[in-house]
């Protein structure tokens, strides 16, 4: 159920991004997300709620592309990285140490937005340069 709330947060962030291009409205082709496997997000469900939420909005038709980021831990004893397995209690296979350090898998990140402008820009309204400064996440 919380994918609905996740989508709402995502739309708020997208609206803030749109303001950077005002008064023009970007036509968004794709929104790329990075979602870690050690989060409470079900990617398929997020895609469904996104498709429903953007209908009739300025994001109508924009595809949500989700890259799954695997859970990777680092054993604090021997520094080896490993894939924590719930069936093995997330322990490091090398030292059987508890999952103390997580290297990746907690990502909930809007990586990038692919877009364009449907009308040819005039000299005074040139398209923005690709790449805004990354915001703190």
């Amino acid at each position: 159920m919380h994918e609905v709330d996740m989508t709402r947060c995502l739309l708020l962030s997208m609206n803030e991004w749109k303001q950077q291009h005002a008064p023009r409205v970007p036509a968004v082709d794709r929104v790329h997300l990075e979602v870690g496997t050690f989060t409470c997000v079900e990617p398929d469900q997020l895609v469904v709620t996104w498709a429903d939420a953007v209908k009739g909005s300025w994001l109508d038709g924009a595809e949500l592309v989700i890259e799954s980021v695997p859970l990777v831990g680092r054993c604090v004893r021997c520094q080896a990285t490993y894939s924590p397995d719930p069936a093995d209690g997330f322990r490091s296979p090398c030292c059987q140490h508890p999952m103390e350090e997580i290297v990746s898998g907690r990502e909930l990140r809007i990586r990038s937005v692919a877009y364009g402008f449907d009308t040819a820009p005039s000299a005074s309204t040139a398209p923005p340069t690709a790449s805004h400064p990354a915001a703190a996440g």
């Binding site: 919380h2 947060c9 508890p98 990140r109 449907d118």
Partner: protein, 233 residues
């Protein structure tokens, strides 16, 4: 057709909630109070925990509760009976509290009292072992409950909640003689996903374990007074 462009954002998916949570946190720090986010599955004993802790600590600390519930005021009424100010937050269809809901609760609380006079603000989240773990509300500490009746596998099945918790309370331990469950195994599973968390075994019925739990609370309260910036980000 249009010229394809791409912006790199690197923005947290939950940035909107995070910004509101940070705003709440600024208020908590300005009021110099400790805010606790209490989370568990339904029926793990959050309200019973609060009833006992509020009654035991009311002479030592000034406290209030923001009480999250999907539809009813039942828990809020139980806690009001202890004599502590309680602001109910009914979430409707939402299965967790978010920072905006807590912000709304704070506005209602401020109509009743000056939060700067409080030492501890408890936020009882909606019963759910999944969603509340991802939505920050501005809390200083996350407290997760797991009752012995839920079995020893829950920390492994719902690892994000127990990973995020600063403190895990194993509740209803008075029932252990009647259950085929190994409390040592429960604690071991908690520590496997979060070796750094504090763990206490409690019974709200007998009072077992509450002294150690309250000592931990005292330490967190003192830490807020010492240096709020050092606490949970």
């Amino acid at each position: 057709m249009h010229m394809p462009l791409e912006d790199s954002l690197g923005l947290n998916l939950l940035a909107a909630n995070q910004h509101r949570a940070e705003h709440n946190r600024e208020h908590f720090d300005a009021w110099n109070l400790l805010c606790l986010n209490v989370m568990s599955s339904p029926g793990a004993g959050k309200t019973s925990l609060l009833e006992r802790s509020l009654a035991a600590l009311s002479g030592r600390w000034a406290m209030a509760v923001l009480e999250g519930d999907m539809t009813t005021l039942l828990d809020a009424e139980r806690l009001e009976a202890v004599g502590i100010p309680v602001v109910p937050i009914t979430t409707g269809r939402a299965c967790h509290l978010d920072a905006a809901m807590v912000s709304g609760g704070l506005k209602l609380l401020r109509q009743r009292l000056d939060p700067a006079a409080l030492d501890i603000l408890w936020v009882e989240n909606v019963g759910n072992l999944v969603c509340p773990a991802e939505f920050a509300i501005g809390e200083h500490r996350k407290v997760a409950l797991l009752s012995v009746t839920e079995g020893d596998d829950k920390p492994l099945k719902y690892p994000v909640m127990f990973r995020e918790a600063d403190c895990v309370l194993i509740t209803k331990v008075d029932l252990l003689p009647h259950l085929p469950v190994d409390v040592e195994r429960i604690e071991a599973h908690i520590r496997q996903v979060n070796p750094r968390t504090a763990v206490f075994r409690l019974s709200a019925t007998t009072g077992e374990g509450f002294e150690a739990w309250h000592d931990w609370l005292d330490a967190q309260r003192q830490a807020v007074q010492t240096s709020p910036a050092l606490l949970h980000a």
